[in-house]
Symmetry: C2
Subunit: 455 residues, 2 copies
């Protein structure tokens, strides 16, 4: 049977339940610790900040599948199912015996996979009677996705946007405002933690860690308000499992079982979602693909970070999370993949990598990433987001390796989003002014020295 | 049978031939006239400027269907078939008994339907051995689409971009450059006609008419080069027939025959494509939908233009075209729908309107258009291009009229593109600084007075 360029599922074939990978993990990641007591966080500890049903999902380690409520599935129908695309043109351009597939999550206005979790989180907030949400955004994809979901479910939203990103991408602010959100550049003078950071470092371009601190502080101080997060947390990864579940259904139809699955990793939610259905095989001891995570050289949390307890934010107000981290105080150099500029990593992804279930991590240089992005755009049409281009880089490298060895591997990667709001980055690449910054060992050691002490 | 949110065709169901509406028109539009002789243009007259096979298509009034070459269909597979979407959420928000459908052509990097014709035109140029193409772009969608097609088929491209649009949308330039095109703001000093226009009016923000003149001049002066146009011409409308053919196949599956079909009209190619399959019914005397064309109040070529011979460009170097026109010298006020700022109109659309086959034209005010765009974005998710929002405005008005009368009409409109590069417009709307300019009767009369005299 010929494989089409794009494999679309019917709406009836869309997953009706999320896959909770933790139910298949023999060992769970270490629990969140309360920053004041150092003791594992209880549901009650988390209730003032997070929506209740999301906490239940976060702490659920037993149910393999959790039903997707019909209201969320109706929202999903506006932009899902998303296609698995056979990259025929890229294969031809590379002259590789490999077959390359990508799951394309960018064909919605938020421009990325983030809408999968935004739809779910706002639905549960609304159901709980919450009238206002706060969040942070780096590249702007999560903020846009959440704005769309809040417009759909009629919930107020305040977004703290990393200042560096806000300057690079002024139109991201306009689009969030079009969907009714209030957008504040972070660090800002609207919060205590923001004022403190600005006092210490007035010229900072901000970071996801700062913006998280500000969003949490505002949520706690606002009536009937909760904080929501676009990555890192277990429930976010679970919502993203629709990516992997759909990909497997689509590829199964054509008898394709990938040899390699490649995803970029910032907070880890896209990667966790993409690998979910195939990782289930591996956790059950079956044959499974090789899993490769890709991150930027400038913010190498998996490849050079410590596996340790750390704060999720710069302001040190979140619970302590056991994860690969560069230190909550680490300020990554500005790069053009704002979605990959986070000091930490999803605890589930961290645990899977630590225990050898994720096979490999590659840290990529920015210009090589844009070489791949530009080639991909020219031959496959779609202009990728810089984040996604990290996965493209490695997929191309794998396909070129197949050309050397003559192996006809099946490669699946995640095309998480589009680059329409990243034209400053593409212009910088095109004009030859793009550079990259790799943190020194000394910088990282200095950052690790400030990690919280946990007994 | 329940109608899904999105009706996708399989790749095998995609049209294998374009529909040539002229074969069904009992009367053809008047022929192009040579500007020097005043006589009908022959194929030979057009050969120095246009690709040969495109001229053959332009002059073909007999073949109802023209096969789409396999190479073009393979290109189409990267972004087609495009879905027909049932606007369930918009229907609910309007509380209307009407059913609203839209054919969504924006899910590709060019952000619009323009890629349908770009793929075809570049393919035929390449086949003829042409190595360089020139064109103009207003909103930037055509320029982007052509850049993508030229990257795919490996043909050089120079784009003259209307200066006002280039300033509003700097990132459009970057995206065309990413696909390898050379982009020049028009009017420019790279052509005689550009220098002349700048001398007379140094502060002009340009127009499509100017940019066309410059692109043609450059194509004639460059070796092995031809000029291509993104709208207006008959062959472009024919390429766009895939929109209407697919829409009808998709709706037929669910037993839906629209009562109203609504499209925005700039040069007319999207409208011509959208209505094609249903207009075939009307031309054959069968039951057919009501057809409504929508244009901006600031550039009302169909509703207030003259049906007369005129130049296609400001520099008066194109053949004379019988069409609805505001006069080739008419400079529309800057608005945010650059794709609808053309003084003329497709001769096929003009003829159909003149002869009563297109039932109605509406000219819409810019802020009312953005009211509709914003509502649509919030409830349907997708952020529309300002051009497309003209059709949304009228679709909403029709659906609201149904609410008054209780009629359950089936409404189909064309969502030609996305607004990712139009955030300046959305920000202006959001901030309340958006205005509109309606040309006075005196202005139009003065422009009509300069129309060329044709015996």
């Amino acid at each position: 049977m010929d494989i089409p360029y794009k494999i679309y599922l019917n709406e009836e074939e869309m997953p009706k339940a999320w896959y909770n990978i933790k139910a298949d993990m023999k060992e769970q990641h270490d629990p969140f610790l309360h920053p004041a007591t150092g003791k594992p966080c209880t549901k009650e500890d988390l209730l003032p900040v997070f929506c209740e049903e999301l906490i239940d999902q976060e702490l659920n380690t037993t149910d393999r599948f959790i039903e997707i409520p019909e209201e969320i599935r109706n929202f999903y129908r506006m932009f899902r199912p998303s296609p698995v695309v056979r990259a025929y043109c890229l294969e031809k351009a590379l002259d590789t015996p490999a077959r390359i597939f990508y799951k394309f999550e960018g064909a919605n206005t938020s421009g990325s996979h983030k809408l999968n979790s935004a739809a779910a989180q706002v639905y549960y907030a609304k159901k709980q009677g919450i009238t206002h949400l706060t969040t942070e955004t780096g590249a702007g994809q999560w903020g846009t996705a959440l704005s769309m979901a809040c417009a759909y479910f009629d919930v107020d939203l305040t977004v703290y946007m990393v200042k560096g990103s806000a300057l690079q991408k002024p139109y991201r602010k306009s689009i969030m405002e079009t969907y009714g959100a209030k957008v504040i550049s972070s660090p800002s003078d609207t919060t205590e933690v923001g004022r403190k950071i600005l006092e210490e470092n007035p010229d900072t371009s901000g970071s996801l860690g700062c913006a998280i601190s500000e969003a949490i502080e505002t949520s706690v101080k606002t009536e009937n308000c909760r904080y929501v997060l676009g990555s890192v947390l277990d429930h976010v990864l679970m919502h993203q499992s629709v990516i992997g579940l759909e990909a497997k259904i689509a590829l199964d139809k054509y008898g394709v079982y990938p040899d390699v699955v490649i995803g970029c990793a910032g907070g880890g939610s896209n990667l966790g979602g993409l690998i979910s259905a195939y990782m289930a095989d591996k956790l059950q001891g079956k044959k499974a693909p090789k899993f490769i995570a890709v991150e930027p050289l400038s913010c190498p949390s998996l490849s050079r970070g410590k596996y340790a307890y750390d704060f999720g934010d710069t302001g040190q107000i979140t619970p302590l999370i056991k994860m690969y981290t560069l230190g909550a105080g680490f300020m990554p150099a500005p790069n053009y993949a704002g979605g990959l500029r986070y000091h930490g990593m999803s605890p589930v992804i961290s645990k899977l990598y630590h225990d050898g279930f994720i096979d490999e991590v590659r840290a990529e240089e920015q210009r090589r990433v844009f070489d791949a992005a530009t080639l991909f755009a020219r031959v496959e049409g779609t202009l990728p987001a810089p984040e996604s281009a990290h996965a493209i880089r490695v997929a191309i490298d794998e396909a070129l390796a197949c050309k050397e060895t003559g192996e006809a591997k099946d490669i699946l990667f995640g095309l998480t989003g589009t680059g329409y709001f990243d034209m400053t980055a593409y212009a910088s690449y095109h004009e030859g002014t793009m550079s990259d910054y790799i943190p020194s060992d000394e910088e990282l050691e200095a950052s690790f020295a400030k990690l919280p002490k946990v007994e």
